[in-house]
Amino acid sequence: MKATTHTEIYRPFEGTLSTRSFRFLTIAWSGIRLASKKKLPLLVMLGPPAMAAIIFSFIVYASYALQKGEVPGIDAGQAQMVLALAGKNTEVAEQIVSFLTFPLVRGFVLLTVAWFGAGMIAEDRRLGAHLLYFSRPITRLDYLLGKFLATAWFGCLALLVPAIAINTIAAFSSPDWSYVKDQWDVILKTVAFSAAWIAIITALVLAVSSLVERKTLALAAVFGLVFLTEAVSNVLFQLTHESRYRLLSLFRNTDRLADWAFARKTSYDWAPEASLCAVSMLFASTLFVLWWRLRRMEEVA
């Protein structure tokens, strides 16, 4: 049918229009699928944390097996080696917090989140893809949440999933489910600590991504920011011997918070509240930058 005027035909939408309000999940899923297209970076980034998780899981398993006196396939010498690997500390909580703050794991979690998150907003701005998003029935908050979840997903694969795996090994290895019964709080703290750490670095990476228009620039800026503050913190501490300068370091603060959360003996001489305050300020700043840049996207569109 041909229209003689253009208002004669109304073209109704076909199919089923969902009324669900979680549209950010569509953006997140699309972001995850897009970022997962290249398998090699996934393998390279997630390999080392996975290997660390296997080692820590084995230590946890062996610790319980040693406690029970059942060490299948391990002789006394190997048992001693396991204990040496465990740092003479067979406490499961200790092993989990060691995993969470293990420099290699922490480095690769940062690398993973930065690699997959650096281009999330920067590339959209460079290509103008945000114009396609913002002309659709989604809000800027949906867009931000979608990008946040997509980036955090890779952080979860690098940290949360291995940490949960270690907890699961501990639960199954412990005699009579004693780990779950007596140390259930460790499981909750593991999830909370991992989630908080991932959220902070995800927000940091996305904030940097929103400020530049190239993924490589964003990557460089994230590592520059993290390692520069680390270096400045160390230098100032070495020069002045004042521990407050170590509050500039993201890693030191998270170490301090891990010690506090898991009730571990700490080597730092400042209150955990100071670290909590420093990390909260960083998180709030990144959220502010993100919100400001998203609002400004309409001007640079």
Partner: protein, 306 residues
């Protein structure tokens, strides 16, 4: 026909840079061309229409609703930006389907609509290839596909013909014609004036963020009656004919070119064309050719912007 787009004193600034300045325009349905030179404010106006940005001042309604942050309205609009906006690692179908999903369609339905839209822009053979392998024209058509996939009432297309080869250009224009005939309102911008003219007679001319003229090309031309219009003739005896033209009050200037060429500027083109055959016969000057080079949009635009 009621207006689908109404802008009243709409202004938009980017800091100190003026994107649009007190633009008041009312656009009715159908296919309309938004014409203006680079930097005229076409893209800004389009982004305002699709709710990407909000006006710094003034009021704007699209399909009877205020566009900014109006999620309900976004379902009824399709937008094809000028920017590339495509993810190279995705397949064409995946890309379009992912964007269609944001309207609330199920995954299966989104996929179906994406395939249909890609077929409509003649990308059916390439839809399973990665976008990174597409030519510039194919990328443009992919952008078009994502804009039309959900069957919008209003399609807003920013410079849709740039980068297209002649065949793709023709196909794209045909697609707009089809959409217009099927009832979709189409607003497309271009600075390639004759292409807009070949698609629609309804134009909106903007320059430096202001409305310059609006209506059909003919209407706009008539509005400009105070401007002299040029007629180019090739005749056997140009000087004799020029002498005769000087008797007409509406002829303002005459210029010779080549050996047999004559450019005449007239303020009353209708009278000119009415009198010309009789005059030519009377003088026996033998008119070989006649054209009005400034009757097209390009000339109108040149007149308007000075």
């Amino acid at each position: 026909m009621s207006a689908i787009i109404v802008a009243k004193d709409v202004g938009r600034w980017y800091g100190e840079v003026v994107g649009l300045s007190d633009l008041s325009v009312s656009i009715e349905g159908g296919v309309t061309g938004l014409v203006g030179p680079n930097g005229a404010g076409k893209s800004t106006f389009m982004k305002l229409l699709v709710g990407e940005i909000r006006p710094s001042r003034g009021a704007l309604t699209v399909l009877g609703e205020t566009p900014f942050a109006n999620l309900r309205l976004y379902r009824r609009i399709g937008f094809c930006p000028q920017q590339d906006a495509l993810y190279d690692h995705m397949r064409g179908r995946e890309f379009v389907a992912a964007l269609v999903r944001l309207y609330g369609f199920s995954a299966k339905e989104s996929n179906r609509l994406a395939i249909r839209a890609l077929e409509r822009v003649h990308l059916e053979d390439a839809m399973e290839r990665k976008v990174g392998e597409y030519s510039k024209g194919m990328r443009q058509r992919t952008r078009l596909a994502q804009a039309i996939a959900h069957g919008p009432e209003l399609l807003v297309v920013d410079e849709p013909l740039s980068g297209l080869d002649p065949v793709a250009r023709h196909e794209t224009l045909e697609l707009f014609k089809e959409l217009g005939e099927a009832g979709t309102h189409v607003l497309l911008s271009s600075h390639v004036l004759h292409e807009v003219q070949s698609l629609t007679q309804e134009i909106v001319l903007i320059h430096r963020g202001r409305l310059l003229a609006q209506g059909s090309v003919g209407d706009v031309r008539r509005l400009l009656s105070r401007h002299p219009r040029r007629v180019r003739l090739t005749v056997r005896e140009p000087r004799r004919l020029a002498e005769a033209f000087l008797r007409f009050d509406h002829v303002g200037a005459i210029r010779f070119h080549d050996d047999d060429g004559l450019d005449v500027e007239t303020r009353d083109v209708e009278t000119f064309f009415k009198d010309l055959p009789a005059l030519a016969t009377e003088l026996g000057v033998g008119i070989k050719s006649l054209e009005s080079p400034d009757a097209d949009l390009e000339a109108i635009f040149d007149y308007l912007v000075g």
